[in-house]
């Protein structure tokens, strides 16, 4: 009986080692800082090891670790904000970057017109897509990347994002809209160039 538990533990440790790189890139997308991302992942993994015996014979271990990591990321984000490590959020409210995608009359600029990315299911399963996503997230401004990842990667509600960032809801929507437009333009550039 004891033997089985030890093997289970070893298996779970191996799985933690296997998922660590992905957890670090997830955390880095939001904290925009590799050292802080590694710290947050470290804390989540330590918490997982501490709770290891409650997972004996149960599934959902990685999901649990991932959930814990999200809390650690939120803590780290709050610390970053307290330390004044965030750029002024209002910087984000400038129209210029988005206006380049549209003509004066509100139609798409010819070279910015969105194209077909192919089957969404296979796009989301492509390792290359995620590399491009990562690069394009890094190219976003800190504020845009944070608000986008709080919403889309962490799944926070608009109210929660307002609380975490101190933004008014309307500004939050404006930032999300621009982040989405910039991300799609950036991803499309790399993704379609490689596919053709």
């Amino acid at each position: 009986m004891h033997q089985v538990t030890a093997e289970g533990t070893q298996d779970r440790m191996q799985r933690l080692v296997a998922v660590r790189p992905r957890l670090v890139s997830f955390a880095r997308l939001q904290l925009r800082d590799l050292a802080r991302a590694e710290d947050a992942v470290q804390e989540a993994i330590e918490a997982a090891i501490e709770k290891d015996d409650t997972f004996a014979g149960r599934s959902g271990y990685e999901t649990w670790v991932f959930g814990t990591l999200k809390y650690k990321i939120l803590d780290a984000l709050r610390a970053q904000r307290r330390e004044g490590g965030w750029q002024p959020l209002e910087d984000e409210l400038d129209e210029a970057a988005i206006d380049r995608q549209f003509q004066k009359n509100g139609r798409w600029e010819q070279e910015a017109r969105p194209s077909n990315w192919g089957n969404p299911e296979s796009t989301l399963h492509s390792e290359r897509f995620w590399q491009i996503f990562d690069l394009c997230m890094t190219a976003l401004t800190d504020t845009a990347a944070r608000v986008f990842s709080l919403r889309e990667l962490m799944g926070l509600s608009a109210e929660d994002i307002c609380r975490e960032t101190g933004l008014k809801q309307n500004n939050c929507w404006v930032i999300l809209h621009r982040a989405r437009l910039r991300l799609r333009a950036c991803i499309e550039r790399d993704w379609l160039t490689e596919k053709t």
Binding site: V19, E62, W108, P114, W117, E152
Partner: protein
């Protein structure tokens, strides 16, 4: 009131906002009408939806990295 066709830029505002809150009936109708006539915005709308799914897929990527048996993530492989 005279009906005025919505332009692409405004349509992308609605595409983005519908991922946060339900649109009004009027907004839904204008967006639907615009999308029916604009292939570029239809692509943009699909891309926004794809970006909206990234969080869910990240979780699945982590399960795959861990070598969790197929099916336990709730999807078919």
């Amino acid at each position: 009131m005279m009906f005025k066709m919505m332009m692409c830029k405004e349509a992308t505002h609605l595409m983005s906002r519908q991922l946060e809150v339900p649109l009004t009936f009027q907004e839904k109708l204008s967006l639907k009408l615009h999308l029916a006539m604009c292939s570029a915005c239809t692509q943009c709308n699909q891309q926004f939806h794809l970006l909206h799914q990234t969080g869910k897929y990240y979780e699945r990527l982590i399960e795959l990295d861990a070598g969790t048996p197929p099916g336990s993530g709730g999807d078919n492989y």
